[in-house]
């Protein structure tokens, strides 16, 4: 018989207990973060996972759970993205399939690596330092690029570089014809790109769009119109493979966290894609790159400043 049924806080009814992260979290805060990143995704076309995972870590979600759950939520915006690109016939399924073969191999390697790093106790360090490296790289490249574009359009000069160059990469064996992309190239290169992106996706909880898009344009020489749709197509499978493997190998996918995030992001993307003409693309990218640089700085500071306590504990469940 229960006499009293007391709770700590009556006012915090918005808190929801995450079953895998094993902690309560404010559901509106997570929904808001999801919506905000969805908005950025809709406005700029990039910026899902690689901002979401660090923000989850800042909110106190253990890095392994953050990475795995973000990979899960990435499936949703990728599916809706591919559907809209498919309608406009902007997906090269043949190229996407070759890429995703590499991606599945890569993400499987990534999950194994993730498991191994967890066992030796260096997972948090590797996740955080990979984020510092990649966010700094992407943030500063994007910042420089958008600043250059802004300055150039102010001066009134618009110039275009070559889209497609032939180099030694086109001399590799196992060539295949990709009619949609108007390419005749070795499949080794897209497979290798897929593997690298797959490893990063599994380790960092990202789709890898920010690596695969430039790689498709500059290394493979694909037409820009097909790049986003095709990369989203392969991200669906890489993220799905990562989710299933993370769930079966490491039990780190928090379905409650992922669901709240993806509900937020799905709404955000739709709002974002409706207001793309509010700000010019290069200004949006300038803002986004500043956010990315700030996030990577915060992560870097956490890694290099003297911790308040040199000792920490792990309580095994």
């Amino acid at each position: 018989m229960y006499y009293y049924y007391l709770r700590n806080n009556y006012e915090n009814l918005m808190y929801i207990y995450l079953p895998i992260a094993e902690q309560p979290i404010h559901s509106l805060a997570i929904l808001g973060v999801g919506a905000f990143l969805g908005l950025i995704m809709g406005l700029v076309g990039v910026g899902g996972g690689f901002l979401l995972t660090p923000i989850m870590m800042f909110l106190g979600i253990p890095p392994p759970v953050a990475v795995a759950s973000v990979a899960n939520q990435l499936v949703a915006p990728s599916v809706s993205g591919v559907l809209s690109h498919w309608k406009r016939s902007n997906v090269d399924f043949k190229m996407g399939t070759v890429l995703l073969l590499g991606g599945i191999v890569g993400s499987s390697i990534g999950v194994l690596l993730f498991n191994f790093l967890g066992k030796i106790g260096q997972l948090d360090l590797v996740i955080k330092s990979s984020y510092v490296i990649f966010l700094t790289l992407i943030g500063s490249l994007m910042f420089a690029e958008s600043l250059r574009l802004i300055l150039r359009t102010r001066k009134g000069k618009i110039s275009r570089g070559k889209l497609h160059q032939h180099n030694w990469l086109h001399g590799l064996p196992f060539k295949m014809r990709f009619r949609k992309s108007k390419l005749y190239i070795s499949i080794l290169l897209p497979i290798l790109i897929g593997i690298i992106v797959g490893i990063l996706a599994a380790l960092m909880g990202i789709g890898g769009g920010f690596i695969i898009v430039p790689a498709m344009i500059y290394l493979l020489g694909m037409p820009t119109s097909l790049v986003v749709g095709t990369s989203l197509f392969q991200i669906i499978f890489v993220a799905a493979n990562t989710t299933i493997l993370q769930a079966s190998q490491n039990q780190t996918v928090d379905i409650v966290l992922a669901t709240i995030l993806l509900l937020g992001s799905v709404i955000g993307v739709q709002i974002g894609s409706r207001y793309t003409n509010i700000l010019k693309g290069e200004y949006l990218r300038l803002i986004l790159s500043s956010i990315i640089i700030l996030v990577s700085l915060k992560l870097l500071i956490d890694l290099i400043t003297v911790p308040s306590d040199l000792f920490s504990i792990i309580i095994s469940r």
Partner: protein, 249 residues
């Protein structure tokens, strides 16, 4: 609910006064013996109450001990400018929850020696380091364990938190934080008179996951691949659904 609780307390009191109960016995009960971690769990506050055959100046100490198991303490060192976990010590039977509550300062109730013998106090617990691995300066690791467990609210010392009434009734609130570990919790109530144990009682609390939260956790542990596939399926469904809904708007 509250009414029944009062009746029960009065009833306990009557038993003691009519001497039908054994002398020097302590009787205690908990407002909640099963704590369920469900989707809205934010920690629990349990009322411990009871009666004891006391005299003026008697003391009550309540020790709640959670499940014991492996707790690893890690130490960071600077390598190439970055702070990296380099050393670790495994404590194999550390309580994953511990709260010590009393009606006044424990040092006023028991002297240092008695505290050590009866394992009362955070530093008097016998927690073993994993055998086979030599530990240099074990004291600093043990201190780090205590400090971090206190910081995570899993361990606590609550002096003056047991309230006594007319040397016959006592009550105390036991707080379980939201990050509490599931399992069996032992609630030991000790009644001291002039630093000597007069009587004691042991109750228990069972903390378990329940509802959707428990089911999700169990499925994730036991049917992990299926869980992963379902998580992907759900995300695909939401992604596909959203493009259908928003296209029409």
């Amino acid at each position: 609910m509250k009414f029944y609780f009062h009746i029960k307390v009065v009833f306990l009191f009557l038993i003691l006064n009519t001497n039908s109960y054994a002398q020097n016995q302590i009787v205690a009960d908990l407002s909640q013996e099963n704590v369920k971690i469900s989707t809205d769990f934010q920690g629990a506050k349990i009322l411990l109450f009871g009666a004891y055959d006391g005299k003026k100046g008697d003391d009550i100490i309540v020790i709640v001990t959670g499940p014991k198991g492996l707790v690893t303490v890690q130490k960071k060192e600077k390598i190439l400018g970055v702070w990296v976990n380099t050393k670790k010590v495994n404590y194999i039977n550390a309580p994953k929850y511990l709260s010590i509550s009393s009606n006044r300062k424990i040092e006023d109730i028991l002297n240092k020696k008695t505290q050590r013998i009866s394992e009362i106090g955070l530093n008097n617990l016998k927690i073993r380091v994993q055998p086979g691995i030599g530990v240099i300066n074990e004291k600093q690791w043990r201190q780090a364990l205590t400090r971090n467990m206190l910081k995570s609210n899993l361990w606590s010392i609550n002096e003056n938190s047991v309230s006594l009434n007319k040397d016959a009734l006592f009550r105390s609130f036991l707080k379980l934080p939201s990050n509490v570990i599931t399992g069996q919790f032992e609630v030991k109530i000790l009644h001291y008179r002039n630093s000597k144990l007069v009587s004691q009682q042991i109750n228990s609390i069972n903390v378990s996951k329940s509802g959707i939260s428990a089911q999700i956790y169990n499925i994730a542990q036991n049917y992990s691949t299926l869980y992963g596939i379902f998580a992907v399926f759900l995300a695909v469904l939401v992604g596909w659904g959203s493009s259908l809904i928003f296209r029409k708007v």
